[in-house]
Amino acid sequence: MHSRITIPILASLVAVAVVTTPLSAHHSFAAEFDALKRVNFTGVVTKVDWGNPHVWFFVDVKDEVTGTVTNWGAELGGPNILIRNGWSRHTLKIGMVVSFAGSLAKDGTHRVNASRIVVDGKRLDAASSEGAGR
């Protein structure tokens, strides 16, 4: 369970949600991911596929209990929406440590739809599963 956020933060979140709600999901989120199966990861970026309709990045995540390293794919929104939110194709780089939350893929593959992305101590709007345009 994530920690609760406080009301001053909420105002900005709601504002962002309202300003940026697009109507252009490329695919149905729930056809691919289960919003109730949430995971939190910190890992090292191994690949970034920067393109439409969704940017994907891949991270090596180490299980702290078993020591096993698993490569996970994480879906973001499209490049256009990310660029308008302050990202560029250089924001995520191979070797960088990234923390994020995500909803697991239903088909059992190592894929998530990512949110709450923290890079270099900064949180970035993931624009997850949204279409590129806005």
Binding site: S12, L23, A31, K62, K122
Partner: protein, 358 residues
């Protein structure tokens, strides 16, 4: 492996959201745009006009959310929607979140709802207005050279459009749509017989008022008109969107699982949740029941009531694919069975508590 959510602060989020992209056209500030003393575009400056004296609708626009944005039939009575069309919408709503065959998932266009939500650019000349839609990348031509709509045209995704001026209002008539898309995110269908009349008015520099009349007698018992307002986005520019360049989802679309399909929550439970929930003074989430469907308004009326779909007796998702990652609403009950508060997990994964006030 745990994300330290407590380290996340609003100023960081805002900084990320408003960080300027260096030398990006999406943040270019054109010198030709009238501005207020604080440098922002003056959206209520006088409307620009063409050499012929007509309003010039040229610009990058985006429609503002309203109760019609997701549901263009919001003002229709149930008996004005033909049974097959009502059933198609019901089925679509029940499955929309899981639909792996939606045109958009196949990188196909939105159809007549293209104008809602995403950026579009109008380029106006005396004989044609071109609508450029960023995502998906579609164009629409509105011919204003006096020609009539084609008879029996090859059906197309965005139809065929002709326009004429009535005073300062551009009247656009469209026909020749295919029937592969819906009119809205609620899944209201249309047939190839659909005709749309739009009346565009630019009352000032920054706003476009659009009246849209839908006429589809094989699906709806009367024509009806909705209104939409688009706001100018003078300090950005359209970007390229080629849907298939990095498509990595289509092989992984599972659709609705048996577990999801088997969640049945009696309508009596919905009634228990209906009410008003306060996030902070003046900021509320309103939960209601319409036709045995639990609905939520969590955007202060800006998008109307949005259907909620049960994932358990206490957890519900906003399941409109058009809204992206689903917001989750979880209801909490005290020991005497009264619903006391809800938790809203936003699509960005943050949790917001709202306390029941009514």
């Amino acid at each position: 492996m745990q994300l330290r959510a407590c380290s996340i602060m609003a100023p960081i989020l805002i900084a990320a959201v408003t960080m300027p992209g260096i030398a990006q056209w999406v943040n270019y500030v054109p010198a030709t745009v009238p501005r207020t003393s604080d440098g922002k575009p003056n959206l209520i400056a006088p409307v620009p006009r063409t050499a012929a004296g007509k309003p010039d609708l040229t610009g990058v626009w985006r429609t503002i959310g309203s109760k019609y944005t997701l549901n263009v039939a919001a003002s229709l009575k149930p008996d004005e929607i033909q049974p097959w069309a009502a059933e198609a919408s019901r089925r679509s709503l029940a499955n929309f979140n899981f639909n792996k065959d939606a045109p958009r998932a196949l990188c196909l266009p939105h159809g007549p709802k293209a104008i809602f939500g995403n950026l579009f650019k109008i380029v106006q000349s005396p004989s044609v207005l071109v609508f450029l839609h960023e995502s998906p990348d579609n164009f629409r031509q509105v011919l204003t050279d006096g020609r009539k709509l084609p008879e029996d045209p090859n059906p197309s995704w965005l139809g065929y459009s002709v326009g004429h001026w009535e005073g300062d209002t551009l009247v656009v008539e469209s026909a020749g749509f295919n029937d592969k898309t819906t009119l809205d995110a609620f899944g209201h269908p249309h047939t190839e017989g659909l005709r749309i009349t739009e009346r565009f008015r630019r009352p000032d520099f920054g706003h476009l008022e659009i009246q849209i009349t839908f006429d589809d007698p094989k699906a709806y018992n009367r024509p009806w008109t909705i209104t939409a307002t688009a706001q100018l986005r003078p300090d950005t520019e359209l970007l390229e969107f080629i849907c298939n360049e990095n498509e990595q989802d289509s092989g992984h679309l599972v659709g609705q699982t048996a577990e999801e399909a088997n969640v049945k929550v009696p309508a009596s439970v919905f009634a228990k949740y209906a009410g008003r929930y306060e996030i902070s003074p003046g900021r509320e989430i309103v939960v209601s029941v319409e036709d045995d469907q639990l609905m939520v308004d969590y955007l202060q009326g800006r998008m109307g009531n949005i259907p909620l779909f049960p994932r358990s007796e206490t957890k519900f998702l906003v399941a409109l694919a058009a809204l992206g990652p689903p917001a989750l609403f979880e209801f909490f009950t005290d020991s005497s069975g009264n619903v006391k508060h809800l938790l809203w997990r936003t699509r960005e994964g943050d949790e917001v508590k709202a306390t029941r006030i009514r």
